[in-house]
């Protein structure tokens, strides 16, 4: 009795899978796919929904997950493993932009039963672009600009010169530090001429960015 898992897939496959980025499927994924097969396909679809909520940043309800896996008598290790393998499958498939039919055929090759695969791929298809957007958002960005505030001052006089009569811009930039995770604040004051140069250059950069979109 092999529970619908083709015997070939139980050995180290050496086959390439698109959802693994054209690499071998990791051994642990193979092992946990057989754990997934133990819950019913209806519960599987609900579990997929929970895992996707977690990946999209909406939080996972562990109590619900525990209830879904209670019938199959999953221990805490099994529950964590199922969530991990589903997270891996969804993220990896979205990362490599795999369409849902290829994913379905590859998962069935690895021994996930047809009903379970169909549930998983339907969930994947529904949330495919939302997941890719989330992954794009969390991609490495250094020193992300968080906010800009400005004010224009007019200097009337100073200790050096009685009548200065010049406008200046004060710019406050708040960005995430490249190496630290905290927000760093930079305040600069810019004279009118320098500010004009800055603005022109930035507008040229903006034109270039728009041309690329």
């Amino acid at each position: 009795m092999t529970f619908g898992i083709p015997l070939e897939s139980l050995q180290s496959t050496g086959r390439r899978f698109r959802f693994c980025g054209d690499l071998d499927c990791p051994d642990w994924v193979l092992a946990e796919i057989s754990t997934l097969a133990k819950i019913s396909s209806v519960k599987m679809k609900l579990l997929c929904a929970q895992v996707l909520r977690d990946l999209l940043g909406e939080g996972i309800d562990y109590d619900k997950v525990a209830k879904l896996t209670a019938d199959a008598k999953f221990e805490s290790g099994d529950i964590k493993a199922s969530v991990a393998v589903l997270s891996f499958i969804f993220c990896s498939a979205a990362k490599h932009d795999v369409d849902s039919e290829s994913l379905s055929s590859e998962l069935q090759q690895l021994g996930l039963p047809k009903e379970h695969t169909m549930g998983l791929c339907k969930s994947y298809e529904d949330k495919h672009s939302a997941l890719q957007d989330k992954l794009r958002e969390t991609s490495l960005r250094l020193g992300r600009l968080e906010s800009v505030s400005w004010r224009v001052d007019y200097t009337l006089g100073s200790s050096e010169l009685r009548e200065v009569n010049e406008p200046t811009v004060q710019l406050k930039l708040q960005a995430q530090g490249a190496e630290s995770c905290s927000t760093e604040t930079t305040v600069v004051s810019i004279s009118a001429d320098k500010f004009r140069v800055l603005l022109t250059e930035l507008k040229q950069a903006q034109a270039m960015m728009n041309a690329l979109q």
Partner: protein
Amino acid sequence: MLLVLSEEHKEHLAFLPKVDTAVAAEFGRIAVEFLKKGTSPKIYEGAARKLNFPVETVQHGVEGLMFLLTESAKLMISEVDFQDSVLVLGFSEELNQVLLQLYLQHCSQIRSILSLLPPHPPAYCNLEWRLDVLLASRSLRQQVVPMVTMKLLLSTGGGNHSVRVVQTDPATLQHLITTLEAALASMKTNHARRILRNIK
């Protein structure tokens, strides 16, 4: 190899035969908990009140137990040596057995805790990367320069993390990969294999 206990240590442990063996076993369990999670002075006070002993005596007793366990685990002394070392204290046979069982059960756990103590150089934790193409800069337009930016997360001991950001061009990255693969392959040479075989 025998454990040589200092006079002060023997004095501290002398508290144990004054209580029931069951209570001593409980202190043993507390000592192991403290080794895993850190000490908690409230437990000393509670125990001292219940047993009618000064707090200091209870504290020294537990600390003496903790030290006995860490020294034994550190030197990985055998069952026989542990029993002989403890014999010096002149405890009852029952108490000696309790201590022996405590040591045997928790030896490997204590050793793994002790292995966390020495300073570690920063260790690899995580790597994020991105592939960019530089198209233009303020000084030069119409460029095509690919570069890979990597954010390396390192863990220095004690749960602290440090971050390093590096940038490289694809050629250097390829060189980096080749060098690292050569390092990995050196594990498979006969010389490395012979050494690994001889380390138990």
